[in-house]
Symmetry: C2
């Protein structure tokens, strides 16, 4: 399945990356964030990305002959976007003439500002009897001179005659890749926006980005309008199985939410839909029949990235704007994880790291630039507060943090409100604290009050309907069954991690970092996660909550076509491991059901 990787070394930086055969020298540089100049984005039309091949295959391609002088070709110069890696290579990269604009995003990643959407201001020559080129030919020729290829649909072409003439042939072309999105009168290069959407199960976050400065113009989050159709992915899938109308309902709900968010973002910033040319969306917004996902062997309709006209789903950006999605790694390891990998750089550095997004499924990516693996471990809804007696979602009134000493200290969402229940992060905290306080056995069994008569909290060990429980607050308690639910959930994820570690041949001592992604990961107490055995027992300062890594990845893909290209390649670079049916998963699962004192992940 996995091919041997080939090494490309870039001089004078002396940086090396390993890529699959057939990758271009240009793309391989993106992988390690090394900037090679380009204005066409790797289409072989601008000629700026030339490198000198010092070692390795150096066949000249057609575009080389077009863009380079024969003497350059003789000297080994090649367009890096055309040169493909078929054996180990060493290349010399020319010094950049301009310092690229870059920003630190995600988990300390330096992202070069080079959006897929580009604006090019052109002063076209006016038609005359000597120059009767069509409007399109005139535009295309001017763009070619600037090193841009162009393809255009009829909807945009239709707008050319009036715009050209009203503007006296001084226009700004808006390109998304090589696709012509718009032609605007005059010089509008100062105004160029895109929007990044992280469509989570519960929450939808939209960030309006200024593609010229790389800064967020405004951010807004709201409840995903799909919530009424079920709180988790599985119940949404069930709803979707009711047929095409139900699928359409789901799509309408999420697109409606996105448009509400857009409306608010436009209102706040004064930016218009006409200035917003592209949306990078992480999440399914296209109304795909999810039925095959619901049953073995769990095959999705598709996992590839897609570029779709915004009007096709009615997203209110520029009428000829585009929606770009990111690919998925597997049936239950979606684009949010690809975005998270982009935001954290997992699988692109030499460090061995594990990225875990805890939810209904624990989605896990483990590895380094050498080799990386991914899987989804079915965790059930415990971490989302479901199936827990006093469980609730992470909204006002939910206990999200617990500290036990001689008394019970609670952290409640909304601050000074009475606790109404407990959410996932509170649950993890509570169980970790119960273990530390000696009120819970490592097997997961509550102690009886009479076993710990002198414990200051022994009277909190109560009986609820004949079942042992711990009283957190008036009317809010954890039952023995709740503990079992959590054990299954964390056991599944821990096992997923262990299976990947075994396949990769690494132990806990080899792990450089554990990254907790997703919205749940942001709230999780890393120490508690370690105590209950959800994550491998590395030093606590190496367990890092990375925040909304999916949204951050979407923003990165919006600001940098190079990073976007990396995202597109991730599915071919990360091996997907299916857990169900694996005997080592089942064996491990049993062995990690207890808490770590009994069976830590080794």
């Amino acid at each position: 399945m996995i091919q041997r990787k080939l090494e490309v070394t870039y001089l004078p930086y002396d940086r090396t990356t390993r890529v699959p055969a057939g990758t271009t020298v240009f793309s391989a540089a993106h992988w390690i964030g090394l900037p090679i100049d380009s204005t066409c984005g790797g289409r072989g039309t601008c000629g700026k990305c030339k490198v000198r091949v010092i070692q390795g295959r150096r066949d000249a391609e057609t575009a080389d002959h077009r863009q380079l002088r024969p003497s350059e070709i003789e000297d080994g110069w090649r367009l890096s976007c055309q040169a493909r890696v078929y054996e180990d290579m060493t290349c010399e990269v020319p010094q950049l003439l301009r310092v690229p604009k870059a920003a630190t995003m995600g988990l300390g990643r330096l992202v070069i500002l080079d959006p897929n959407v580009r604006k090019v201001y052109l002063e076209l020559s006016e038609p005359s009897m000597e120059d009767q080129r069509s409007d399109v030919a005139r535009l295309r020729d001017a763009l070619t001179e600037e090193g841009h290829d162009m393809v255009a649909g009829v909807a945009v072409l239709r707008t050319l005659p009036p715009v050209f003439r009203e503007a006296g042939f001084r226009v700004t072309a808006v390109l998304a890749g090589e696709q012509l999105v718009a032609v605007e009168a005059g010089d509008t290069t100062a105004e160029c926006y895109g929007v990044a959407f992280d469509v989570g199960t519960t929450t939808l976050v939209g960030t309006l980005m200024n593609l010229r400065t790389g800064m967020a113009a405004s951010v807004l989050s709201t409840l995903n309008g799909q919530a009424p159709f079920g709180a988790d992915v599985i119940s949404r899938i069930s709803h979707g199985m009711n047929g095409p109308e139900a699928i359409q309902e789901l799509q309408d709900a999420v697109v409606g939410t996105m448009n509400t968010v857009l409306g608010e973002l436009y209102r706040e910033t004064g930016v218009t839909p006409q200035q917003t040319y592209e949306a990078v969306v992480v999440g399914n917004v296209f109304g795909i029949d999810p039925t095959p996902l619901s049953m073995s062997p769990f095959t999705p309709a598709f996992m590839d990235e897609l570029s779709v006209a915004a009007r096709e789903i009615g997203l209110q950006i520029h009428p000829h704007g585009y929606i770009q999605t990111l690919p998925a790694l597997g049936a239950y390891v979606g684009a949010d994880i690809v975005a998270g990998v982009l935001a954290t750089g997992v699988a692109r550095e030499d460090r061995i790291r594990v990225f875990v997004d805890v939810g209904t499924n624990g989605e896990i990516v483990l590895g380094s630039a050498q080799r990386a693996l991914a899987t989804a471990a079915p965790a059930g809804p415990a971490f989302e507060g479901s199936q827990i007696k006093c469980g609730m979602r992470a909204t006002v009134g939910a206990i999200e943090g617990v500290q036990l000493s001689d008394r019970v200290e609670l952290q409640i969402i909304g601050g000074d409100v009475p606790p109404e229940g407990i959410c996932g992060s509170g649950l993890v905290d509570a169980v970790a604290q119960l273990l530390l306080a000696g009120l819970l056995e490592y097997s997961g069994r509550f102690k009886k009050p009479e076993d710990v008569p002198h414990h200051p909290l022994h009277d909190r060990l109560i009986d609820v309907d004949g079942m042992r429980a711990f009283l957190l607050a008036d009317g809010v308690y954890l039952t023995q069954r709740d503990i079992r639910e959590l054990q299954f959930a964390k056991g599944s994820i821990a096992t997923g991690i262990k299976v990947l570690m075994d396949i990769l041949g690494v132990t806990v001592d080899d792990l450089d970092e554990v990254l907790l992604g997703g919205s749940f990961g942001s709230y999780l107490n890393p120490e508690s996660a370690k105590i209950i055995g959800l994550v491998p027992p590395v030093a606590v300062d190496r367990i890092i909550a990375v925040g909304n890594s999916a949204g951050e990845g979407a923003k990165i893909a919006l600001l940098s076509y190079r990073e976007r290209q990396v995202a597109f390649e991730l599915p071919s670079r990360i091996e997907y491991i299916e857990l169900s049916g694996r005997s080592d998963f089942n064996d491990s699962f049993i062995s990690v059901l207890g808490f770590p004192q009994l069976a830590p992940i080794q």
Copy 2:
């Protein structure tokens, strides 16, 4: 402007073609109708189009390394769809393993049946825990094995899960080029249709083609629904200048007519819209603002070929089907002429021929494979029966043929009906006959009855409102002013031809054939056209009415992606000559206003 052409010779056929630098060896072969095997249509994915380069540049491209064995590359074998011509070349083409299905179309052109729309029946492996590929990956892999690349939009991808599962993973993929149009349950390869539309100013002709057999399933013609907005192109343009609503009105009218024709074609044949995947359309159906066309320097919005989703204009073929247009050669030399060139082979053979489509503009293509020129000569509406006192369109009651001896014989459309007026072909015939009968001077001046007292028709020379005229029938006559109108119209076209002949450096003796295209050309009497000096004075048997060449070209483009490719390349192979402002046009024009006895085209 014009680059030196390069020669490619194909062995063992020993056939040679001349192409611009950068053309692929594969495309160059289409130009002379030479079939090189291919299932992917020149995308470098099927590996079947290999040729052995015997003389000329033979750099191996990436696709060569992928598709060919090292020993083949060593021996000079290259994929002809990747090998570009940068110097004169000689290649050996392998014998075709199968005899391609071909048909004679247009003017004796052998067209190989190889439509852009292909159906591929696939028995996919079913998903399992060991093979969790997504539906798309499964489809793409199976198509790759058959040598097809695939790109797909979300609208089609959405249909995969239910179709795959209902059909037990036995499906037919419908590809238009590499675009996935549909996936159908079971083996539907027997049913594959496309429609060719010739959208003329007056008449719209639709032909439903069976893409499997290459036969027309049914043909239907009707009045273009745009007729109420003006009888000719200029008045349509004027209407279109009333703003976006007016443009939309024009588009709705023509699309409505096309859908009416489609509905009738479906009813007659039992073919369904779902089985009709592509429409090749000759004519503007996209609602483009025509304003810039109406004034100097006459620059159109675009002249390129377009591929547009059928649903974008509401054409009732397969919901994910496509519309393909052909490119234009110049502002007033449209896709109908490109289709005509395709149907006649002008500019692709060694013979020197002139193709003339007579209408409001005389559109002219002159030349051979060595060099070809095109222009549009403004003729005014005389040939369409406008600006002629008793003129009318070619409908029931119109005189379409005239024979003068000792009496007047008329051919009337509709047969045994009283003549109501005279249409363009009747006008040309009448004037030619008047010249032959000695009733019209070569200057274009009517003789007076007293000049020809013994002529059996001298009493037909009448006076209408103080102007000389000839009485054709009760209430139908030709006035002196009508004759002047015709002189200007034919003079303009004759001058256009002469200017092109001068530029090409040929005389009447060098002309092998004169081809009369367009609907008007079909009805024109070649001898009359020669007598009035509309066309150069070659032997009458070398003046050929080629019928509905535009519609025939559209059908050829539908049945053969190779011919379609040739059509796309025509604008870069035929030089466009702008007549207005040329002093030689004005000079010639004056000299050919009279009829040939005075100033034949030399």
